[in-house]
Symmetry: C3
Subunit: 200 residues, 3 copies
Amino acid sequence: MENILLILTYIAVTASAISGALEARKHEMDIVGATTIAFATAFGGGTMRDLLLGRTPIFWIMDPWLSIITFAAASLSFYRLDRISNKLLNVPDAVGLGLFSILGATYALQLNTSAIVAVLMGVVTGIFGGVLRDLLCNRIPNVFRRNTELYATCSFIGTWVFVILIKLDINSLIASIIGALAIFTLRILAMQFKVTLPGP
Amino acid sequence: MENILLILTYIAVTASAISGALEARKHEMDIVGATTIAFATAFGGGTMRDLLLGRTPIFWIMDPWLSIITFAAASLSFYRLDRISNKLLNVPDAVGLGLFSILGATYALQLNTSAIVAVLMGVVTGIFGGVLRDLLCNRIPNVFRRNTELYATCSFIGTWVFVILIKLDINSLIASIIGALAIFTLRILAMQFKVTLPGP
Amino acid sequence: MENILLILTYIAVTASAISGALEARKHEMDIVGATTIAFATAFGGGTMRDLLLGRTPIFWIMDPWLSIITFAAASLSFYRLDRISNKLLNVPDAVGLGLFSILGATYALQLNTSAIVAVLMGVVTGIFGGVLRDLLCNRIPNVFRRNTELYATCSFIGTWVFVILIKLDINSLIASIIGALAIFTLRILAMQFKVTLPGP
């Protein structure tokens, strides 16, 4: 189980790093910009979670492999990826959204926070990397815009499912799997059917 | 007294949340953008204060009502507020500026910082939410611009008053009230008479 | 030695503060914007370093002189500096880049991080102030752009030199001097010969 989680994390981090580097390339950046934005995208959510919850040193300080993978993925995709279908990135990105949201909520619950704060922490952990990526590229974060398919909303719903299951004393491993799968599935469906939120 | 402080805080948080949600709506965002920016505006200053001073977990982790109020205020104002006079928001916003500035300086002084650092912490706590709101909307923060009426300056002056009173061993409750009232009054006067700072 | 370090730090902080205030002036900001951006530029890197490593309260909370110098440098350059050659700022800025990078890596190594994380922390400490300055001015950070002369790269190479020397058990004072000098020299050479990184 531990190993599966680690492999999924590495896959999601790699997908985030690639998406960061490719976004940087669109904005006439050099490799420094590309790697920085790759790091911000891959580590931003977890870093914000750890800062807010007071879990220091931050998660990536202690595992060099996360940095090495991000660095390699960023450099390779900046120099070598001539064209990649966004659809190819969307699946690992949805894996990451599910994984990181549940992880964020889990760490919050360990501090005995209320359900709503745990859900917020899940959503922050899930989406903040992409928000940071867009801010560093000087544009309004994608996830905030009206014509974007459900993203934070998937994390929000799935994390509520997870938190409610935990409050019902369901085994935390089972609750995690159900929550993460719910987020992943909702995100894939939202992209497939281009579901967006209603405007004001 | 405790209760008055709590009510004032909730009022100020609500005002910040509404201002965040309305700003988001101007930038073609959806409800995810609106609630995120509402949270950033309402919690940004206090979060930055707690991070810098090492007070973790952050203040809003432990009080679910802050999140619930922000969430409700953001959703309602995004979907339901057709038009709100900015003047209506300005008064609770000035309450928040006074309250949060004094709170920031108080927490800094508890760590025995020097007067200037306490004042800086007060100003940061008072203005950072609005700065974050504007950054997330991809514009230069309002409070930095030359044609904006005094805002950070009110916090700066009033927090100095508070810190000096504390250093003179005045009762901290009285010092707080004087400081917060000074900030509130200066801000209201600055808006009334459109006072701006001199350019270079 | 301690004194030399302190003087170098104050010089680098002053240079950062001036560069922040001048950048703010270009963007039609008032003195509030100028001082805030001066603080962000001067303190941003070290603040991020301390937050990520869990070293709170942050470094500038305890030394009022850092705040006083930044405040004075920002006000003076906003109101009084009619024109300053960028070249004049580049030398103290390169001193700061060298100094702050090595300091960042040193604090990371004290937590027994791996070499790559220490190097990343050095680079973050060295460049984050300038990144923050540009973000607050609502533009893509200078250091990420393709036509910018090597900046983060100098920090990256010199910090690697430092970390490798430390792992080889070289005296840490000597390693620091060599590392910082390497960064400083690389940066000066990069500007002199307009060296940039290859695009994708």
